[in-house]
Each structure stands twice: as C-alpha cells, then as structure tokens.
C-alpha cells in the first residue's frame, strides 16, 4: 500500500515506505524537501520541525506513516513564487538568520504559535520556541522576527 499525504498542498504517493521510517527521512530522501534538517535526531533541537495538520512536530520523532491522509507543511511551501511568507520576511528583515540551519524549524514553530495566538508576547514566543535551538546567534533577534512576522500576518505594517 502506498503512503499518501498532502505536502504543501500537493498530493504525494510513495511506495515501499518502511514502518520505522521517520517523516524527516521521507521528506528529505524521498521527496527532496531539504528545508527540515536533522540536527540532533532525538527531538531536542527542533531543526526538523514541520507542520502536521498545522501543528508543529519533530519530523525525527514522527513516523512517516503518521502523516497518512494528513497535511504536511514544510518551509518550501511558504513563499508564493518570489514573494516570501510574512513570517519569512520577519526573519529576513530583523537579521534573525545566521547560518540558517535552525531557521526553517523556527519559522514553522512560529507559524503554529501565531495561528493560536495572533498577537504573541515575548514570553509566549520564547516558550513556543523553547524546542528550537539556535547555536549561532542567540534568540533576541528571533523573538523580534516572530513579533514582526506576526504583525505582517495580521496585515499590519512595519514595526517602528
């Protein structure tokens, strides 16, 4: 039986996916989606975060088959052509990206947060992102990025 789910709005169907395969492996190795990264591989770092039916989960701790029939979103699906997603713009404009390894996970976790809490406070942002580690630059700019991205998502303008 093929494994079928929706990836960034497109139906995908994969043959011969072993039961023990992680969602992260299938995304990276079978579907060429390299945005989600394997950092620690044990659910500590959040670099593999993807959205499963809109909820941030660790791709490395999720069996690929748990995605069956569901919606998966990765960072590749966020931009519309050349136009970045408002949350991506928030990250770019605040300089919240250094090496970029953690950024896809940070952005997806932030989207889940903003979905639940359109005007997140700094503490809420920090708590939501506690499972996304950045080893370059720290978290100050990331918190600003999420605030700004959330603002753009609400249709409001530049942060003063």
């Amino acid at each position: 039986m093929p494994l079928e789910f929706t990836l960034n709005g497109q139906k995908v169907s994969l043959e011969d996916v072993p039961g023990e395969a992680t969602l992260l492996e299938v995304l990276r190795q079978r579907l060429g989606m390299l945005g989600a990264k394997e950092g620690c591989g044990v659910g500590e770092c959040g670099a593999c975060t993807v959205l499963l039916d809109g909820k941030a989960v660790n791709g490395c701790l999720t069996a690929a088959w748990q995605a069956a029939g569901r919606q998966i979103a990765t960072v590749e699906g966020l931009a519309q052509g050349d136009e970045l997603h408002p949350m991506q713009r928030g990250f770019v404009e605040t300089g919240a990206v250094q090496c970029g390894f953690c950024t896809p996970g940070m952005i997806l976790t932030s989207l889940d947060l903003v979905e639940q809490e359109p005007v997140p406070g700094d503490q809420q942002i920090r708590r939501a992102l506690a499972g996304n580690l950045c080893r370059c630059t720290g978290y100050h700019d990331v918190v600003r990025a999420v605030r700004r991205g959330a603002k753009y998502m609400r249709g409001e303008g530049e942060e003063q």
């Binding site: 039961g19 023990e20 500590e44 941030a56 660790n58 069996a63 976790t109 708590r127 506690a130 499972g131």
Partner: protein
C-alpha cells in the same frame, strides 16, 4: 523492516496487538527514539508498529460528570490547553505544560507516558497523585489497575503483550482539592525532570497526596509525609516540616549518593513550595 498499521477500530487494534511482534505507537516520541537506537545498533525492529492515536476510544476526555475519565490518546498539549483540565485537575495541566517542547507535547500522549514508564515521566507523578486507575483492554476483556501497581520498575509495567491502555479513571473529588505540580530540571523548558513533585490537598487535610517523581524507580506516594500532614494545622511550618520529611524519605530509600548534596535540599524546598501552592489554590477557591 517493520510493517505499520493504523487500525480504525479497537477490535482491529487488539487483534493486531495480540501478535508477539507488535509494538504500540501512542505518539511516538519515545518509540521512534527506541527504533532509531535499534536501527543504529542493528538490533531487531518490531514486526508491526501499531498506531493507536486515531482510535476514538482513546480520545475521550470526561471531566463533567461524577466520574472523570482521560483517554490514553490525549496529548500533553491538549491536557495543557483544555480549560476543564486546568480547572478540575490543575496538577495534570501543570505537569503536562512542563513536558518536552511544544513539538513533543503536540505528539506525546498520556498513554505512552505511562506505558513507557520512565522514572522521570512528568505525567506519571500527577496521575498517581490523582489516584488514576488505568483501564486496560485486550482480546480477553478489560482489566483495571492503579498506576502504582501498573508500573513496577524503570521502563517496566505489568502490561502484557496484547494489552492496550485505553485511559484512566480518576478519583472524582479531585476538583475540590488544591493541587500543584513543580519540577526541577537543567533548564526551564525542554528538560528531563531531575525532581518533580505533585501535591493534592483537601480542605480537612484528611487525604493528602504527595508524589515525588524522578527520585525513585517508580513514582512514589510519600506515605510518611502524607501522615505528617494528615489532620495537622496547615501553614508554612507544616509545609516546611513536610519538606524535611520528604528529603529524609529520599535518603532513607536511596542512601547518600553523589546527587544527594543537591537533591536533598531541593526536595525539601520543592515539597514545601508545592504544598504551599496547593493550599493557596484551595483557599483561593473558597
């Protein structure tokens, strides 16, 4: 290579689970780690992985009637966010909020937490303080087992092959109790418990519950601490004395190991603080 099955009905799940090579996936945040280890070390993988998280029976959340019931498939995120859980069994809401990261809480379930039986499991201490009784199904029928008896050693339970935890029945008067959960870890979030403490107090202090987690092979009600509190006069002095007693209990059971220099004073403080919070909550309710 493992097969993967997502049963649509409980019957289908129990049938599949009765085969010796079947392993339950109840969220996967522990199981996938174990599978990763098995793959890296070349040890045998389970023949069948059985994803029970979509079974409607495991999603029940009943806190409105005379008997409380929590389905084993509820995620920590759900327990953390549900307003009824926060109001009626805050000790579990508070424990759930401290589990892993948001990503882990959205996947990990209270069924998997118990079946995995980690000594550091946050959900376990809260459930034991609530006197939870597991409802366990198999092809042979149902059995009911208090959590204190279900968990026998680190990562060991009395669950037999073919048995599945459906959920937990809770002591209904829980709602009239003051409750608190506190945890000490190496960082504030995404930390494995070094210590955790769940406390439930009734107004008369006739049936106090104090559970210390992460210190013993299994979650343990501190009966001598509970006896000290029983019928005594509530207040800072009592909470402090209870804390001292809890710390003494720890060294009695575990001896003076290296970590005790830190743990003993930490247990005394965390116990006193949790009791004080539980009592303050009870006062705020009246």
């Amino acid at each position: 290579m493992s097969r993967f099955l997502t049963p649509a009905t409980l019957d289908e799940a129990l049938n599949a689970l009765s085969h010796p090579g079947a392993k339950v996936l109840a969220g996967g945040t522990d199981l996938m780690l174990a599978l990763r280890q098995a793959r890296l070390s070349g040890t045998e993988l389970p023949e069948l992985i059985l994803d029970v998280t979509r079974l409607p029976e495991l999603g029940r959340l009943e806190l409105d009637g005379p008997a409380y019931y929590l389905g084993a498939g509820l995620t920590f995120r759900c327990l953390e966010e549900d307003p009824r859980v926060a109001r009626r069994i805050p000790v579990l809401a508070q424990a759930a909020a401290t589990v892993g990261s948001m990503q882990v809480r959205q996947t990990a379930t209270i069924g998997g937490n118990v079946a995995n039986a980690s000594p550091a499991a946050d959900g376990l201490s809260a459930l034991v303080a609530l006197d939870a009784v597991a409802e366990i199904a198999s092809l042979g029928g149902m059995r009911h087992c208090p959590l204190g008896e279900l968990i026998t050693a680190p990562n060991k339970t009395t669950l037999a092959q073919g048995e599945l935890i459906l959920g937990y029945a809770l002591d209904p008067p829980a709602e009239t109790r003051g409750q608190a959960f506190l945890k000490v870890g190496r960082r504030q979030e995404v930390a494995v418990s070094r210590l955790n403490l769940a406390a439930c107090l009734d107004r008369e202090l006739s049936d106090p519950r104090v559970v210390l987690g992460s210190c013993f092979p299994t979650p343990r009600r501190l009966r001598d601490v509970e006896e000290l509190i029983q019928g005594a006069t509530p207040g800072p002095e009592l909470w402090r004395a209870a804390g001292e007693k809890a710390a003494g209990h720890f060294t009695d059971v575990c001896g003076w190991r290296a970590s005790a220099t830190y743990k003993v004073p930490a247990i005394a403080r965390i116990t006193a603080r949790a009791l004080s919070r539980a009592w303050a909550q009870l006062e705020a309710r009246s």
